[in-house]
Symmetry: D2
Subunit: 226 residues, 4 copies
């Protein structure tokens, strides 16, 4: 049986972090050839090198994640935390896109799917640096999505929050009463999202069924965004 | 092979109009049992009757469409056009939801998917009544989505525009130069969406993969919304 | 001393309800001639009659409010509550605009300012009918704002919530512990807005300083919307 | 006669660029004591130095502008243009806020008003780096606005576009046919905004009348955003 991504070569960056493992697993199950890359993309030439090594790809999954540093107020946020957000999540996003888009434009086909955050769409006290960087991703995707659309290249973003992942929701946190209080206050659905649910959205957006979306950010947050 | 909607009973309203035919076809291809209903839902008791006749359903596809009456300025819009929008697209939406939600709440499972419009999210001169009614749908879904989420019932909306359908984009229109100029000005993707693409989004949102969305409106507009 | 609205004739509808009294007081203090009308606008010809009686006006303040009926779930919301929202807040808005816009278009000058609600922009469980109607206002203003802009007529909306007013926040409610818990959960500013603060926004938007806004909804909610 | 900002000490950064001159003029006319600072804020300690030199201030107007570099596609955008956006408009914004917020929190009073861009809210092909940086500002303000609200400190942003200023709309551009075509396509109001209109919004948001806004971005774009 042919999967919904069969025949597609998909590059997933920072593959061991954030949604990398879940996306890789489900995309492979749908028939994709996944190039899972674990490089640190902070260096100026890393993105180009990774894209070059991957060869021709149909879909770039720009999975970029820095620690959220939850709870550091903006009034006290040191430069080093601030810059790490942009160095890990924002600047590499542009370099990755700049590296993959020309070949996609030439073939008149291709997709970039960014694993972003719903904090790029709605405020959340305590994550100012993180949400600034995630908002930069949202804005970049919005504009690059418009530039890429006439080339039949789709650039979109998954704006997730409240989804299980070891980086932001480790068991040591999710098993506390404080966490349950947070869920009740913030997440109408009353639970965390499952990685395989988030990956299902990624599969849909990476598939040929999703050729008419341009520059969009798709909230995936159990209703937190509404 | 089991489809992605196999085992699901899905009621599609106003089934011969707007996205009804495309949704029915693709949902059946994915294994759903589709109850396609063509009733006029303007009468006060029609929604309840249709839902009652359908029996237990897993998904309601609230497909409701009135003519957009493109080009009638608000300053001249007569009451009858105005009211038709709300009578056809807004009031029946509430009555349909009121009729299906209690059983879904009881079973702790179910979905309502509304076929709305991107004019409920962004302005477009010349369709004031239509966009007011479509915005009412967006707002209703946003709030009912929050109410339904704790019951594990997902209420969401497809906010489409610039998608092929005989009601809003008849060939007599799409084959004109004026239409091509409109496309160029408004739709970054440079083409109309295909009904099967819109139906693919509907299949995704009706499936078990989409249990973590609540009250959302998903733009489907070739980038017009960004 | 000349006020910021001096020389302007301003019609305020449903003047004894919602933000009518505060807007009238502050607009008069800024030099406006305020025509405060208390008519029930539900009848089909009431809007036209009120506008006709007012004579030439520079600004229409469409202040329309129905009881929010907080706490009635959509799954149980009866038709009569549902329809009252649209009969009081939505249909009269269109009729008022239809009545005032032609003369404003002719003079190439004028403003419509709608007193709406932030529940037209964000969901809030328990007010489905109200938020659907308020969202219709938001969408109507967005589109009519675009139609009116080329005529140098500004149509905009104040999307307020959590603002003191006897209709939605009577003292019997605001003096309870439950209310304080609500404030803490929902309103970052930690207090209700004052009517005179909301009226200050209205004065600004009604003044000649606000000629470059079109179709916008301005949240006024102590941060609830963010 | 006392102005609406009388008694307020207001620091305006990058005061000779973007909206600095117009804001300074109108704020002074409203009675403010304006500290107009022209420092280059790209160096790591510049923001802190400027804030320290200003002494106690009531309002920070974070006016930060880099050239938009209109027309450079993301697929070809070099690192140096990219980084300049963040070095000029994003990193200094955080450093300025970090420097002014603690004293404002202590006094339980103060405002930060950011001169941002509507491209932080809506896409525009050809300005990917600029819109990413402006979106970072929007997201930062949204979250810091929530953090600051309980301290009675208001952090908000003016999201303008299509407003006269020598940096982005020099006469050599605005007197061309191409510019008029752009206006017609993008700006419902059919003209550029005037600096004094934008400054009027800034005066309103800097005044005591605007104590109930938190983390908001106010579009000022002649309807382009709707």
């Amino acid at each position: 049986m042919a999967g919904r991504l069969s025949g597609k070569r998909i590059l997933i960056t920072q593959c061991n972090d954030y949604m990398g493992p879940a996306a890789a697993e489900r995309m492979r199950a749908e028939g994709a050839e996944v190039i899972a890359d674990a490089s640190d993309l902070r260096e100026a030439d890393a993105a180009e090198r990774v894209v070059g090594a991957a060869g021709a790809i149909d879909v770039l999954v720009a999975n970029l994640a820095a620690p959220a540093n939850l709870g550091v107020a903006a009034s006290e946020m040191p430069d080093e935390i601030w810059h790490e957000m942009f160095d890990v999540m924002v600047h590499p996003l542009h370099r990755l896109c700049r590296a993959v888009l020309p070949a996609m434009y030439e073939r008149k086909r291709g997709k970039v799917l960014v694993y972003g955050s719903a904090t790029g769409l709605r405020g959340l006290a305590g994550v100012s640096a993180y949400s600034a960087a995630r908002s930069a991703q949202v804005g970049y995707v919005r504009t690059v999505g418009l530039e890429a659309a006439p080339h039949n290249v789709q650039v979109n973003l998954i704006a997730q929050n409240w989804t299980e992942n070891p980086a932001y929701f480790p068991p040591a946190f999710t098993e506390t009463d404080a966490f349950n209080a947070l869920l009740e206050q913030h997440v109408p659905m009353g639970r965390l999202g499952k990685p395989h649910e988030s990956a299902a959205l990624a599969v849909f957006l990476a598939s040929d069924d999703a050729d008419f979306f341009a520059g969009q950010s798709f909230p995936f947050s159990g209703g937190w965004n509404q």
